[in-house]
């Protein structure tokens, strides 16, 4: 049996585009491990964009700021071992219902500690609407976040895409 190949922050093989007609940038192709390896910890680099919806690749290293969103988001760990801590805010919504995307909070919000989930490669967690959450890397890695383009999303397509 051939071994199943998963990439990682330290070991990935970026693919390629053979153009016959058109331009490579039409495919906005990048590699999430390469993107994360060159990003600051928890920089929310957009690697996929479908109108207002995005996939962000985050380099998980140390502890992240606290985040929240007015809608459900999802995290998928592609490398490393990462805890996600949750707080149920006690002083009303942290994010206005009309705001889309992830909002970085100023410090730890007040509220009830809900607990945490420990994720390893291939694990997915719900980041529920309204809850505050924070990543803490047990070992450094890469997290994908399925969300909406927001004020903390970072677009740097020219730096990450095959051209």
């Amino acid at each position: 049996m051939q071994q199943t190949w998963f990439g990682s922050l330290d070991n990935y093989r970026k693919g390629s585009i053979e153009i016959i007609k058109g331009k490579p940038e039409h495919y906005a192709m990048s590699n999430v491990f390469e993107v994360a390896s060159r990003a600051a910890p928890y920089e929310k680099v957009v690697v996929g964009k479908n109108l207002k919806y995005v996939i962000e690749a985050l380099r998980a290293e140390g502890a992240s700021p606290w985040f929240a969103a007015a809608h459900d988001e999802f995290a998928v760990v592609l490398d490393g071992e990462i805890d996600v801590h949750f707080i149920k805010p006690s002083d009303g919504p942290l994010v206005d219902a009309q705001t889309e995307g992830t909002v970085r909070l100023d410090g730890q919000p007040s509220g009830q500690v809900m607990g945490y989930v420990r994720l390893r490669r291939g694990h997915q967690a719900l980041l529920p609407a309204g809850a505050a959450y924070r990543f803490e890397a047990v070992t450094k890695g890469v997290v994908l976040v399925q969300t909406i383009l927001g004020r903390n999303s970072v677009e740097k397509w020219a730096d990450i895409c095959i051209q």
Partner: protein
Amino acid sequence: MDNKVTGLQNVTASEPDPVTGYRIFRLGDFEFSRDAYFATIKWPAKGQDRSHQMHADDFLRAMMRDVAWGFFYGWVNFDEVIGTRNHYGKVDMYAGAYNANFKEAGVDHMQQFDTPIIMATFKAILKDWVNEGFDPFAAPEETGSAFGTKHGDNIAAIERTRIATKCMPGIEGDSPLRDDLPVNRQFADVAQDEPEIHAEPGFEGVLHAFSLFKYLSRSDVTWNPSVTSVCQQSLFCPTTEEFVLPVFHGNDRVEWFLQLSDQIIWDVADKDSGEPRARITMNAGDIAAMPADIRHKGYSQKRSMLLVWENATPDLPKRYESGELSPYPIQI
């Protein structure tokens, strides 16, 4: 031909052929027949009957996906000649309409049907033409032959039901996990551990996590996306792929692929003419857009995990077709 033979409303079929055992089906102007090796599709054009043949296994794999996906987003090209286009309530069946040479020669044909009618016909064809031992969802190494005269059927394989996911599999009231399915032979080395959930008192059952890779390693089908997370109209639809995508999927919106494991190579062509545009090699961790003006077909030499990411916003096909939206997702 009449619909009494199949017992299905709006399905027109012949009696079984005395030699091959297969029925002939008619859908509007199109006729579908098969023999031991080939499926043959006929249609009228320029005062003549035109015909096109496919290997029976290729045809059945393509038709199976079209049915399972509910005609999917946009175009499902069975090959370079025949296929369907989804108008979400109605479906075009075409021959040569998206092939530059057929179109130029005027020998193409297209006809639109209400979705329930074409769906019933396609299901009846699958029911009649899929033999015992052949599973059109399976990789070639995992299934028997599609060829030969009619022998039995495989209703269980072609009537797998897809369970809709509202938020994420495993949440109470949502779609189930796949713990009762075996790990696929080519994912025997995929870790089967689950996330650790440490909920504080009062929050038991509130925190949700599961192993997506374990879930995918237990998929019993290939090239059949299913939803695993829903962020408004943003749908993560991962799938496991082996051998070749049985159709050339034409996009009516931008679609994204994120290769979760191993490698898939994609042939990309012009959506309307079929002229080649690019060949993309995607390794684990690679993410790429499939623009709204292309068709694509993938090749996976080992079973791999692919995250298909869809935007299910209802009005997108019109907005792309009118030129309101660029077929390319970003500008550099």
